[in-house]
């Protein structure tokens, strides 16, 4: 971050493992303001309504619906109270299953990172999400490329079912392990443009009419042989 942030980003940690919550708190506590943590879906919804964090670090797998349920209920709560702002969700999970990851993104999460991410990278991802950007880990980029690969089903005019060549290129670089600023350098565009491409991919991922995106991708893996 080049410009000093006016205030620390306020973060809530939602995970059903106490140890993991404590670990994340210790890792990001110095740079971010952790306003609370929750160990269940109910607790999380209450915490979010009461404390209004900027970003919620959200475990994908939890009893009673998991991260998807937390996102859904938080959005529902805002619908009754239009003045209220929904926090941004960043999914943080050990799960490698494309179904889980795509489901939480489609529910409304702004990004997905794996739990093995380093503390610095995590802080960076949180700040990025707080700024309204999308955060894709290499793995998520791979899932998305898989989901949008091949011929699109009956084309839509809004273009939601296709990635542009540039978006594809950006995603491929993320999957190869490049950082946003490295991608910008290689493609000769600004970091802001890279972010715009990633946000656009996120939007397509959430709005695309390709139902069961990931299931479709898995099927394709088999068909492609």
């Amino acid at each position: 971050m080049t410009d000093a942030p006016a205030r620390a980003v306020r973060v809530a940690i939602v995970d059903d493992h106490d140890l993991f919550r404590a670990g994340v708190r210790a890792e990001v506590g110095a740079e971010l303001e952790v306003i609370g943590d929750a160990g269940s879906v109910d607790e999380a919804v209450t915490l979010i309504a009461a404390q209004r964090p900027d970003v919620v670090l959200l475990d994908v797998h939890m009893p009673e619906g998991g991260g998807v349920e937390v996102i859904r209920r938080s959005f529902d709560a805002t619908r009754d109270d239009p003045g209220r702002e929904v926090p941004r969700f960043l999914a943080l999970s050990v799960s490698d299953s494309p179904d889980d990851v795509i489901a939480v993104i489609r529910a409304g999460a702004r990004g997905y990172v794996t739990k093995t991410i380093s503390g610095d990278e995590l802080c960076d991802a949180v700040r990025r999400v707080a700024d309204g950007d999308a955060v894709f880990s290499p793995r998520l980029a791979g899932f998305v490329l898989d989901a949008f690969a091949g011929d699109a089903p009956p084309a839509q005019d809004d273009g939601l079912d296709q990635l542009t060549a540039r978006e594809r290129e950006v995603l491929r670089h993320i999957a190869r392990g490049y950082l946003y600023k490295e991608i910008a350098l290689r493609l000769g565009i600004s970091v802001k443009t890279v972010e715009a491409h990633v946000s656009s991919v996120l939007r397509k991922l959430q709005l695309s009419t390709r139902h069961e995106l990931s299931a479709w991708a898995i099927e394709r893996r088999l068909v492609n042989w």
Binding site: R139, L145, A175
Partner: protein
């Protein structure tokens, strides 16, 4: 149960609202003590009243049995053990049914419709037996919550022997009574009675047998799965945790152990139908990355998009990628290595990237054959190409391409 309820209404007993048996204070089952307590009289008076009623055509016994069935035991006065309760419950049901039949017969005799002793006796016995047998069927489905299944079964077996015995006795008595009349019609009726009795006795038993077999099977499957999970966790996770505790002083080793275990568990959890290393490019690359990671202790993040069947050219690509990962892990000093592979319709690409030391390709001594021989030359031999982009201080990326078309 409805039979009992109607019996209770028919017998114009005092309202039993709040009436409780007091087994702890009673002589037999606490019926008299309960009535006495709720009416505020001496129990002895109630007992004498029942005795008197019994002298009048045995009516007292029937009333007593009915009361026993319809009044709940006072919970505060030491409920009987669970094993007993199931059996006692069944017996109560049997006695209730018998008492009900008995009552009906008494009424019938009064109006002059007496079917004859040889039918009346067996009918009472049979009803009692049937009540015992059939009572089990709904109880087996619902079961009172908190009532332990095993205990309930013990009580059930007790009642289960009694029930058929009663019915058998009824049938035998009936047949014996009819046997005195040598008549073909009676023989036919006898056969029918026997058949119906057998069906009634063994029907619920068969039902229960089928149901319990299904239960048993589901239970066994669950057990097997649990045992399998336990065995797997023991062989893998517990062993690794033990190893980690032993090597707690060597952080690098601990982290490598944890990483290997994580990978193994992940495979097991998320990829139950893992693709074959022999035939799938994605699986082969993943395997190669795991081997390098294990060898050199540097985490490798593998992302694959699409998959392709492994052939000679792609096999070469896997070997080249393996060499590139090995170099990155050994010499780059990076925290992690990224491997990305994408299978398109006409080409397969793989990228091995690290953010480590980097090197000058021209400065590599001629006798160091790793990069030149194992990566570049190998790819060329198989009709592909390898490009190495390395900037000292900024890391290295090896790009491997095979054209499929």
């Amino acid at each position: 149960m409805s039979a009992m309820a109607s019996a209770a209404n028919a017998s114009s007993q005092p309202a039993r609202h709040g009436l409780r048996r007091l087994p702890a204070e009673g002589l037999v089952s606490g019926v008299c003590a309960g009535i006495a307590a709720s009416a505020g009289v001496d129990p002895v008076a109630v007992r004498i009243a029942f005795l008197l009623m019994t002298l009048v055509g045995g009516f007292g016994i029937a009333v007593y049995l009915l009361m026993w069935v319809i009044t709940p035991a006072d919970a505060s006065t030491g409920a009987p053990g669970q094993r007993g309760r199931a059996l006692v419950g069944s017996l109560r049901a049997a006695l209730a049914a018998s008492a009900f039949a008995f009552g009906i017969l008494v009424v019938l005799r009064h109006i002059g419709l007496w079917p004859g002793d040889r039918v009346a006796g067996p009918a009472i016995l049979a009803l009692g037996g049937l009540a015992l047998v059939w009572r089990q069927t709904p109880a087996g489905v619902g079961g009172a919550p908190g009532q332990h299944a095993r205990l309930r079964r013990a009580g059930r077996v007790g009642a289960f022997i009694l029930g058929p015995l009663l019915i058998a006795a009824a049938v035998l008595t009936l047949l014996h009574a009819m046997g005195t009349v040598h008549d073909e019609a009676h023989a036919f009726i006898g056969g029918t009675v026997l058949f119906v009795a057998l069906t009634l006795v063994f029907g619920p038993w068969c039902l229960r047998l089928v149901r319990s077999l299904a239960d048993e099977r589901a239970h066994r499957i669950r057990e097997q799965e649990r045992a399998e999970v336990a065995a797997h966790l023991h062989d893998s996770v517990l062993q690794t945790l033990a190893l980690i505790q032993k090597r707690a002083t060597d952080p690098r080793e601990v982290s490598a152990l944890a990483r290997r275990q994580e990978r193994e568990l992940r495979h097991w959890l998320f990829e139950p139908n893992a693709r074959d290393v022999e035939t799938s490019l994605a699986a082969a690359l993943t395997r190669a990355a795991e081997e390098i990671e294990e060898l050199h202790g540097v985490p490798i993040e593998v992302v694959t998009v699409g998959d392709a069947p492994l052939d000679g050219r792609l096999g070469a690509l896997v070997k080249a990628a393996r060499e590139a990962m090995s170099n990155a892990a050994r010499f780059a000093g990076a925290e992690r290595v990224d491997l990305y592979a994408e299978c398109g319709d006409d080409r397969v690409e793989a990228f091995v990237r690290d953010r480590g030391a980097g090197f000058e390709l021209d400065a590599v001594p001629a006798d160091r054959r790793g990069v030149r021989e194992c990566i570049v030359a190998r790819m060329q031999r198989h009709g592909g190409r390898a490009t190495i982009n390395s900037v000292p201080g900024a890391g290295t990326e090896v790009e491997l391409v095979v054209e499929l078309a």
